[in-house]
Symmetry: C2
Subunit: 191 residues, 2 copies
DNA sequence: ATTATCTGCATCAGCTATGTTGCATTTAGA
DNA sequence: TCTAAATGCAACATAGCTGATGCAGATAAT
């Protein structure tokens, strides 16, 4: 069960942990090699406080990755991937994911080492994603001969590219619409 | 004129520089924070030799980025983006780029700071790329209403995703064909 | 109100990477 | 062959990060 051994921290301590994780995301996104000192400063906390909650740098990174992965999994579940009509689910999920990924870009870009909670979550997520695509394929939205694994990877890539260019300002629904349109139809001329 | 002030190094020195750059790519691709010592070892060279040719770590990274960007630009030019028929140019360019990017993944993924040679080259590349897409659009391969900047970014993303999953084994032409097909038609059912 | 927890601050030891220098040796080039 | 360039090696100084500790003051929880 990893590092989630937190046995009922005091309320202020829990606030500190959250502040540290959010600061770590902010700081490391700009400079992946940033020091604990910089993270502490951004969190409004002394460096020693970080060391009290996280044994070492790696433990902090792991916790960050887990936390972000949990939020991502939640964002997907909120889109009802198993029950909503495929197109609706895809749109909702995409919009949700865009928001979570834009807030936790660094943490979610981390290479999750096998066995970690984050890795397990990312596998679950990939499964959910493939399931939705399968439903879309059965509904005739995706070509029967298409390689769903490639389609899923293209979908991931479109999300990633959307986040790159966008400074976080544009409407998630508009962006999601473009992603799905591109995924299904590409850039070629419409019939 | 940046760091290319190299005034006729001796032949063996030039070999060393190349070995260092190639080793840096190899090592840093696996561990972006790797030490100069590790790079030197991988290059079969003493650490001090690296410091003789590159003032500091940043200078080495900059040189690496420039070198890789030059090769990428060359790979695109080799595809005759201005003269070959659009589809042919796109295919050739894609196959060439796949090979160069797979060999210099780290260097080309580096955030080129404005003003650097690498940044200028990447702008040239983006221009060439957009030009080819424009020709494809005029030829009716791409929808008239399409946003070419988005199309170009999607194209980049497809290349990036292709390189991720592929361990460098598959045939570049096959991969290029899938990229262009996906870019133009997406995953939807064929007419 | 009392207690257990949390935090900031100061401090310390240890480690590692960086960048430089001097010298002896090898190697390319004329 | 002769010279200038290039390299390896050893050593050194510096700087920055990490992780740990002790203590005094602030804060939550009962």
């Amino acid at each position: 069960m990893g590092e989630t051994a937190a046995r009922s921290l005091r309320a202020d301590a829990e606030r500190s942990v959250r502040a540290i994780l959010e600061a770590a995301e902010r700081v490391l996104a700009q400079e992946p090699g940033a020091s604990m000192e910089q993270i502490a400063a951004a969190a409004g906390v002394a460096r020693t406080t970080i060391h009290r909650r996280f044994a070492n740098r790696q433990a902090l990174i792991d916790a960050l990755a887990s936390s972000a992965a949990r939020q991502l999994a939640q964002a997907i579940d909120d889109g009802r991937p198993d029950t909503a009509p495929p197109l609706v689910a895809m749109h909702r999920i995409t919009a949700n994911v865009l928001q979570v990924k834009s807030a936790w870009a660094f943490a979610l870009g981390l290479p999750a080492d096998p066995g970690s909670e984050a890795a397990a979550l990312h596998q679950d997520i990939a499964r959910s994603c493939t399931a939705v695509l399968k439903r879309a394929q059965d509904a005739g939205l995706i070509d029967q001969a298409a390689d769903l694994d490639w389609v899923r990877r293209v979908y991931y890539a479109l999300i990633g590219e959307t986040l790159h260019g966008n400074a976080g300002g544009a409407d998630p629904d508009t962006l999601a619409a473009r992603i799905i349109d591109t995924l299904l139809h590409g850039a070629g001329p419409r019939a």
